[in-house]
Symmetry: C2
């Protein structure tokens, strides 16, 4: 395949950033991939994994000649990093980030890039990942069959968006467009809310009672074993989306409670059936190859 | 091992009943195991699985000479079945059931056995199982390393309880005692509540949004794909326990909501950390072999 970009700089070549680097290199989508990080040991792992052609701990040196800079560090670092990028990136280059929330991120990055209206900024969220972290777990096909959400900001040249879309499609993802707010509301419901619910389920029981628990409780609460500080950052960057999701969830629980308290077990069963049918439908949908998914969306 | 019982009759030799039959036969804990069911096809499967020495669709014929009758059918069938057992079981025999709720069950069975105070009745709940159902999925070691909860009723001869306890211990389970109410409150929190929460999570999203979902949502809601009619029966037999668990859960969610709405991310992180620590502790506890668990409880 012809290169889509000349030099691509990946800031934070961990699981996601490293998989982007691996995918780009395996498919020759760029002439050169630079990995940029703070720790020499992580960068060594990224090189060993094949996630980058070269690495550096110097942000300015690593991004100066890049046509595309990908931010793949925690979302709360994006503002500071972009302020520094604004001082060194070359004219007409493209900045993107792969953070898991968008409204706060778009605001922080747009503010930092105010003086550089030659730079295009395209926020994205690849909906793929793993419990595992670090470049040693990166794979070139992490995004095959996945979705990548773009939440474009006004004033972005259509050519820049089209070019980044081609890159993500070449990595195997379907690109979907929505606004930052739509994105944040969506991920609150499908990702952040389940985390809060799982933690609340665990906080409802006593530790010693766990010895009686079956696989149901263990699976339902798996995500509650995630890193609290990572989740703190996510909650900080999407409080409104999560509050809205929590309120919908509480509404759904109140419905079930009403059926139970009123002895209306027929309605409760219909409510359980609705959930089962929807979940089984979601599993079916996820099994389908990408081409059929596109078909579904076009129908 | 010497027989603990002469003839054991298992009413409903499915996954749980069949595994009890297999476990008893493998360890020679009874002289004879009779499997009793409504459908000849299921009984054939039970015989093929080795869950019974003989089978019959005739409840009276199958239980008349049994020293122990195990009810392993859905909890809402126990009342009617026990009324019939009261007319045919031999003097001094033992009735037990393995239902997943206790208060309603104990009430229904005690009422049905009122005229037969020679029969001992011991309610139990083996905390083991699987998503799979039917005798074809039964295994002789299903209860190895598990817990079996006994919720004894007043007036039961200590010798009968001791004898059934020996049977469960021979099947590999630790026997724990609690009241029917304590049991129902416990299972509401560790099993019924996670099911309601998983269904409510699914009912909070739109089906088409599921295409963006990661493994987190899928795992958190796995139990919501369970059989709605089975769950209806469970909810019908434990509404008070589930309502109490739902209210505790809502309280825990309200705590998280308050931290989020007030921007108190330090307290939110502490709350997430509490859940992670507790869940990780539960996983550790479940990994331990039975002897260390007993040790823990004795400490």
């Amino acid at each position: 395949m012809e290169h889509i970009f000349d030099t691509v700089a990946i800031v934070g070549p961990g699981l996601i950033g490293g998989s982007i680097g691996l995918g780009i290199r395996r498919r020759s989508l760029a002439a050169h991939v630079v990995g940029i990080g703070r720790r020499a040991s992580s960068l060594r792992k990224a090189r060993q994994a094949g996630a980058a052609d070269s690495t550096t701990t110097d942000l300015e040196a690593g991004t100066r000649s890049a046509e595309l800079v990908v931010l793949a560090t925690p979302v709360n670092t994006f503002g500071e990093l972009t302020k520094r990028l604004a001082r060194c990136m070359k004219v007409g280059a493209l900045v993107t980030e792969v953070g898991s929330t968008k409204e706060h991120v778009v605001e922080a990055i747009s503010r930092a890039l105010q003086a550089r209206n030659d730079l295009a900024f395209i926020p994205t969220h690849p909906m793929a990942g793993s419990e595992k972290r670090g470049p040693e777990n990166a794979t070139h096909d992490l995004f095959e069959g996945s979705r990548c959400i773009f939440t474009p900001v006004s004033g972005t040249p259509p050519g820049a968006t089209e070019r980044l879309k081609r890159l993500w499609e070449a990595l195997g993802a379907d690109v979907h467009f929505m606004t930052p707010r739509e994105h944040d509301r969506l991920v609150a419901r499908i990702s952040h809310l389940p985390h809060i619910a799982a933690s609340a389920l665990i906080n409802t029981i006593e530790e010693h009672e766990g010895v009686y628990a079956g696989g149901g409780l263990i699976d339902t609460t798996r995500v509650a074993s995630g890193e609290p500080n990572l989740w703190k950052t996510i909650c900080q960057s999407n409080p409104h989306g999560i509050l809205e999701a929590l309120d919908s969830f509480s509404g759904s629980l109140a419905t079930a409670r009403e059926f139970l308290a009123g002895g209306d077990f027929e309605s409760l069963t219909a409510w359980l059936e609705e959930a089962k049918k929807k979940r089984d439908g979601i599993l079916e949908m996820r099994k389908k190859p990408r081409s059929s998914l596109q078909q579904l969306e076009e129908d």
